[in-house]
């Protein structure tokens, strides 16, 4: 992959939609994985119905679509380990961190220790996060 001058930008992908009613969630995930090849500083945020994308034990048997949720577990392999989930959105849907997949990454700077990728954030923290970004992409 060609390095475009070696500039690293901060990218935030904002996910607001339920995983299977539309193509947004899957498209976002694919863009994230493709974009990972460019070695930018990538963060993911899950807000509103987007929090359902990270729900554990998803089953798509009844709707005839591919269950792509296992792919979120590969994000750590792609060095994507900053995953922010809006705490209010979770609570409004009767969910907690325990209802989400246990996404992890291996910290190369800490003897490859396995660490959690998901952080719960409130709306002020989310606003601050968005403020820091060079690019914000909404799905």
């Amino acid at each position: 992959m060609e390095e475009g001058g070696g500039v690293t930008k901060k990218f935030l992908y904002v996910n607001r939609k339920a995983p299977y009613g539309s193509i947004y969630a899957l498209e976002s995930l694919e863009v994230v994985l493709i974009g990972a090849a460019f070695e930018q500083d990538v963060s993911l945020a899950f807000i509103d119905d987007g929090v359902y994308q990270l729900k554990k034990n998803q089953s798509t048997d009844g709707i005839g679509m591919k269950n792509f949720s296992p792919t979120y577990n590969a994000l750590g392999d792609y060095d994507i380990n900053k995953i922010y989930v809006d705490k209010d959105s979770l609570e409004q849907r009767g969910l907690s961190l325990d209802d989400l997949m246990n996404l992890t990454y291996e910290d190369e700077n800490d003897n490859y220790a396995e660490k959690p990728s998901i952080s719960l954030v409130n709306s002020e923290e989310l606003a601050a996060l968005m403020e820091q970004q060079d690019v914000v992409l909404s799905f």
Binding site: E30, L33, I34, A36, A37, K66, N67, F68, P70, T71, N73, A74, D77, Y78
Partner: protein, 111 residues
């Protein structure tokens, strides 16, 4: 739609030679696909092909080459987890070519 003949059974492939239906993959299909590239599969090739199939089974994606290289290194040791070794096995690109032999779709992020 193109197809290949695997022991008398017709197996559909797309325009780039990737299997259309993952479930139609067999070891013989891998042998026929590799023969098309004039490559004979050794144990070292199978190690990578089997690894890719396990990765797909777990994560539902074919890994990008960078991810594949790192993961192979972790599983099979650093002497195998490097691009030189993997490109010697799969000269058309370890992710692209090995995924095709493994019956997987083209890796996400490959053009």
């Amino acid at each position: 739609m193109a197809s290949i003949d695997v022991n008398g059974k017709s197996v559909e492939v797309d325009e780039e030679g990737y299997l259309v239906n993952l479930s139609e993959w067999t070891q013989d299909a891998a042998k026929i696909l590799s023969a098309q590239d004039e490559l004979e599969l050794t144990d070292n090739h199978w190690e990578v092909i089997n690894f890719l199939r396990e990765y797909y089974d777990e994560y539902q994606i074919a890994p990008a080459v960078r991810v594949l290289t790192k993961a192979i290194g972790k599983k099979l040791g650093p002497e195998k987890g490097n691009s030189k070794y993997l490109y010697e096995l799969f000269p058309y690109g370890p992710a692209k070519q090995a995924c095709r032999f493994a019956g997987l779709p083209k890796p996400t992020g490959c053009v």
